[in-house]
Symmetry: C2
DNA sequence: AAACTAAGTTTCATTATTTGGGACTAATTT
DNA sequence: AAATTAGTCCCAAATAATGAAACTTAGTTT
């Protein structure tokens, strides 16, 4: 047992080193990596060398540390462009954020977690820690709950089994039952709230983005702070959010991708 | 000769498949990959399988296509956080963009190219194609020229050799000589311009971000459109930009990283 | 409906690469 | 100067990658 993921040969092992470096959250020395890794020194060393060569890790000679490389950033940008959702939603997010003067998030569901794929700050940004590329819990965020509400029971059960139900704040839902009950309400309303469930003082309304046939694409939220507004006031934005979600979904299905008429060439 | 980059064994070859998928700019079928790849079918197939298993690629069963995976997005977010520049600059970008009501870019130099690492849209966003993670040419962007102006001659020569000098617009600098001459001016002024050299109608002022000891960290720019302002007016922002660049550099060297007092734990 | 075609998947003997203990070197500490 | 620690390199044994060809769908054509 064990190895669910690092099972695919040399490549899988090398990639696990990327996660290892990422897990430190800061550039690390080789010796630090070694203490946290089961690979023998020479093996780990070779992986680090290879990955650095490849631009997946970056070595800083001044501090003698390895960090995640810039090639990852380039590739991630490619991922962002390829995903049909984020580029299409872009203009809609601009419009929403400008119109409502609040922070707007676009998220997708990934392995039972919320992945924030885009964000627009309010003109006066909130002291809040979310960024494109960041992952967060599904059971206690507006976007997470909005998305869960659109899945069939079996899938929801699967995902619930992966939730930690850690109590971040006094209002965090900490049981599957509480969550399921709320999902029912969300299905009825078509939108979800974050009632300071993840960060104290931070509230939001969120709506799912679904195709006409009901397939989940992502979710959209407007976030603010209790010092600035109330849940009731935020709820007024729900119709605007639902329209935007519908517009995004429509563009998605309309543009069943552009069949490469345009050559990427030119660059070089 | 040949293989400068894909020289490191199986891992390098596998990673080259990521670039291949990225190069299409959209999700691709296996057969399409095959036509563009020199790997034998079975080999390419195994790489694609492995990478998909690993979350570096994502397979969409509906369209039978492979795209770049979500693990890349997570890792890239880690890269962004680890890089000392981007997280520190964040608040400064917010402030600049709010104060000047224009689009602000943060960029770094990577393999002779400009890599945009962060961006703040003006309230009224410009029809302009730049995003965090995107790469652009160094010789015809404000940030690119500002950074080149801070490097020693040998490095500049190296980088110039990698530039295409493609003429994007009538004002694009299309020779090494023209560029070198302008770099001289930039060194004298401490800031650079983009005179619609990359996109028609788009202009900017940029300043380098350098340590006290002169090491290049990145660049900062304020971008606008000819329909909205002029170069002369943009130049008024230069002192404000220089102050911000200095502040970012100061924070960078002050915070010679936080030595992990805070445990990443908690998550799960 | 049978024959053809193309895309995707699996097999397996051969071949090339990874593996990792340990030796070596450089830098820091006692 | 000796000891400790961090980083780098080597090479025979062990293992994993390779890729031609066979096989399985799925989609067309006759």
């Amino acid at each position: 047992m064990a190895d669910t993921s690092s099972a695919d040969g040399t490549v899988g092992k090398a990639l696990s080193v990327l996660d290892l470096v990422a897990s430190f959250g800061r550039p690390v020395r080789f010796a630090e990596l070694q203490t946290k890794s089961d690979f023998p020194k020479a093996t780990l060393y070779r992986f680090v060398q290879t990955l650095t060569n490849q631009g997946m890790l970056a070595f800083n000679p001044e501090t003698q540390t390895y960090g995640l490389g810039i090639r990852l950033v380039r590739l991630a940008h490619g991922a962002w462009r390829q995903s049909s959702l984020a580029p299409i939603a872009q203009a809609h997010l601009d419009a929403l954020s400008l119109e409502l003067s609040e922070t707007v998030h676009l998220a997708q569901l990934d392995h039972g977690q919320v992945l924030y794929v885009d964000k627009r700050n309010a003109a006066n940004p909130l002291p809040m820690y979310s960024e494109a590329g960041k992952v967060g819990p599904a059971y206690c965020t507006g976007v997470g709950k909005a998305m869960l509400a659109c899945l069939d029971d079996a899938t929801v059960q699967d995902i619930i089994a992966q939730q930690s139900f850690h109590r971040f704040t006094p209002t965090t839902l900490t049981s599957a039952e509480a969550l399921l009950a709320e999902l029912k309400d969300i299905r009825a309303d078509g939108h979800s709230f974050d009632r300071e469930e993840h960060e104290p003082g931070i509230i939001c309304v969120a709506v799912p983005i679904i195709t006409e046939r009901g397939r989940l694409l992502g979710a959209l939220s407007v976030t603010s702070a209790t010092t600035r507004t109330t849940l009731d006031q935020l709820e007024h934005h729900a119709p605007r959010l639902k329209n935007t979600a519908k517009a995004i979904a429509a563009e998605m299905s309309a543009w069943r991708f552009p069949d490469q008429t345009l050559t990427p060439a030119a660059a070089e």
